[in-house]
Symmetry: C2
């Protein structure tokens, strides 16, 4: 087994709790029965509560990676009459642009840098749009948008507001009703801290009305919604991850609800940032989420070298960036079953690496 004794601070997969891993060690049960339907219903109820979805909202469970969640939403909710404003603040915003291109959805590639879009009203191109698509947290650079400001803008202009919350759910606040969000896309291996392989789409009644016929079996939302009525999916679900999700939602509730998870992530993120202040590293953006810290070396060291050295010398895994940002930034996740003690391992490693005494 690879990397069993490594400390992981990568933004997906993230550290899972013992309780969740134990569920992963069980036989996969049969799922075409009422007992498994109850699992699905429990997962749906827990997720809807977590994001404060309006009454009548539904969850679609897709056995797939998050990208399938993103693509299937565009396929099932947008068509040739649409004009989408796609926020493109990094690799994952760019992926939504690619998806719109692939499915011939008219769209504007709204490129932004270092803004939380609290002034989206001013910054957005002045066209008639039918929908607004954003990655709440642009994981590629570690950058959180102002969901409320964007929601107000969407509401004022009557846009369908689609939010990919894959890498901020459970660590940063998301409230569908407060932010007037119509669609939320979530995934198993980020803040939910489960193995990868399950992506979930939350649809409000307003979004449900938009669901149309698609040229796809696997991504046919109507089919999932029909089967969902009895707690089932059209095709074999990721049974193990669904059981882990049920356990995880119960765990979050038991520990004090999602608010407590968010507080905890915030505390750990701040603890980390406070404790590396004397090192030659600076925050890449002022709009960082609790989910992650994005750092730029200030002493000319290449970010990729730091990533490699941390892995080789300290068995600590942080996340490099691709492309031109390869040597400019690296990312540290605070998602998953994190504690200050676990985070200390990375803080100490960084101090040792720079030969700076920890204050």
């Amino acid at each position: 087994m690879i990397y069993e004794d490594y400390y992981i601070f990568t933004p997906g997969p993230v550290k899972m709790s013992e309780e969740i891993m134990e569920v992963g060690a069980k036989q996969t049960p049969y799922f075409r029965n009422c007992e498994f339907s109850d699992v699905t219903f429990a997962c749906e109820k827990g997720l809807l509560e977590m994001v404060n979805a309006p009454e009548g909202s539904k969850v679609i469970f897709l056995t797939a990676s998050g990208t399938a969640g993103m693509e299937s939403v565009v396929m099932n909710l947008l068509n040739k009459d649409d004009n989408a404003l796609v926020v493109h603040g990094g690799g994952f915003g760019g992926r939504f642009v690619e998806i719109c291109k692939t499915h011939d959805i008219v769209h504007t590639d709204f490129k932004v840098t270092n803004t939380n879009l609290s002034d989206i009203e001013t910054l957005a191109p002045k066209e008639n749009y039918s929908s607004l698509i954003v990655n709440a947290h642009e994981t590629s650079v570690g950058h959180l948008y102002d969901l409320n400001a964007m929601g107000a803008y969407a509401k004022k202009n009557n846009l369908l507001y689609i939010v990919d919350a894959i890498s901020m759910l459970v660590t940063d606040p998301l409230d569908m009703q407060e932010s007037a969000i119509d669609v939320v896309i979530a995934s198993s291996q980020k803040g939910l801290a489960l193995p990868p392989g399950l992506t979930m789409v939350v649809l409000t009644p307003r979004a449900l009305e938009k669901v149309q016929d698609v040229k796809s079996l696997y991504f046919n939302f109507k089919d999932y919604l029909n089967n969902g009525e009895r707690g089932q999916t059209p095709y074999t679900p990721a049974v193990t991850i669904m059981l882990q999700l049920e356990a995880r939602l119960a765990q979050i509730k038991r520990r004090g609800g999602v608010e407590q998870s968010i507080r905890s992530a915030k505390e750990i993120a701040e603890y980390f940032r406070e404790n590396i202040k004397t090192l030659p590293l600076k925050a890449y953006t002022p709009f960082m989420p609790n989910a992650m810290t994005t750092l730029t070396p200030t002493d000319g060291k290449a970010a990729m070298d730091i990533v490699n050295d941390l892995e080789d010398k300290y068995k600590v895994m942080v996340c490099p960036n691709g492309g031109e940002q390869r040597d400019l930034i690296f990312r540290v996740s605070h998602m998953g079953d994190m504690t200050k003690a676990y985070t200390d391992v990375l803080i100490d490693a960084l101090h040792d690496y720079y030969q700076v005494d920890r204050v």
Copy 2:
């Protein structure tokens, strides 16, 4: 946790070995590195060997259920110039027909009943086809086709021969070279006895040449093939299941290769069939695989009642059929980590149920 103390004889999920479940209990490692690429390469190599794929064949690993494997093959390999002969011997053959319809692929819905198609040359409609699509094992009724006869027919007529081997791999023989198969679709939760969530497509050089541009990000084979060169996937893979697949392929090899797995499944299937001979149950078809036994009650009992009673009274789960076959047949899987001792639990339950002494 549901059904932990039940005996499972359902055809997916199937019984997993302790060794595989232990891998499921580990932290998910980071995967965008050479260590994980090695896992992917090992899985690819093991699978290609297992199906005796011709030199130069490639494997695509999709994080998804088997249906996504079936649909993506049709999307990536067939187009408007094609004419597909789709063998439809049950629910899964019917699914291929639906997929062709959805993607506007010209096709013939070749309905068959109780034949292994060893005489496909005689039975098939006399049209000019470009491809032949078949579920090697039609799991919905437990029915195995003659892959060699169909391969000879495909070769003679220059058809692209696409085989869904999802529920017969590892328990029944499949040899891509011997049967002249161009594409094999496999899935994690059947004979491979892993949790559901991973589907694999094996493409021979002949099939690779047919891979075209598609209107899909998630199912874009070209993208998977490009990333596959360095042992990666375009989107987050089902990391845990990939690690379990690596362990499972090593386990199969260590136990004597896939031939041994097939011999073992055959032995257990025959043991089961031999030991229920005195009960009022008969084989549904003469073309049963080693993977499964399909039974029809001969005493007028409804199959669905038997399924429910076995579960309630003996904690033994066999598989019901849907639709009109609900009361006609039930299915018993021999896939996964099966032993005669484990199978005895079901044999004894059936004898007790019928109040017949076991001979």
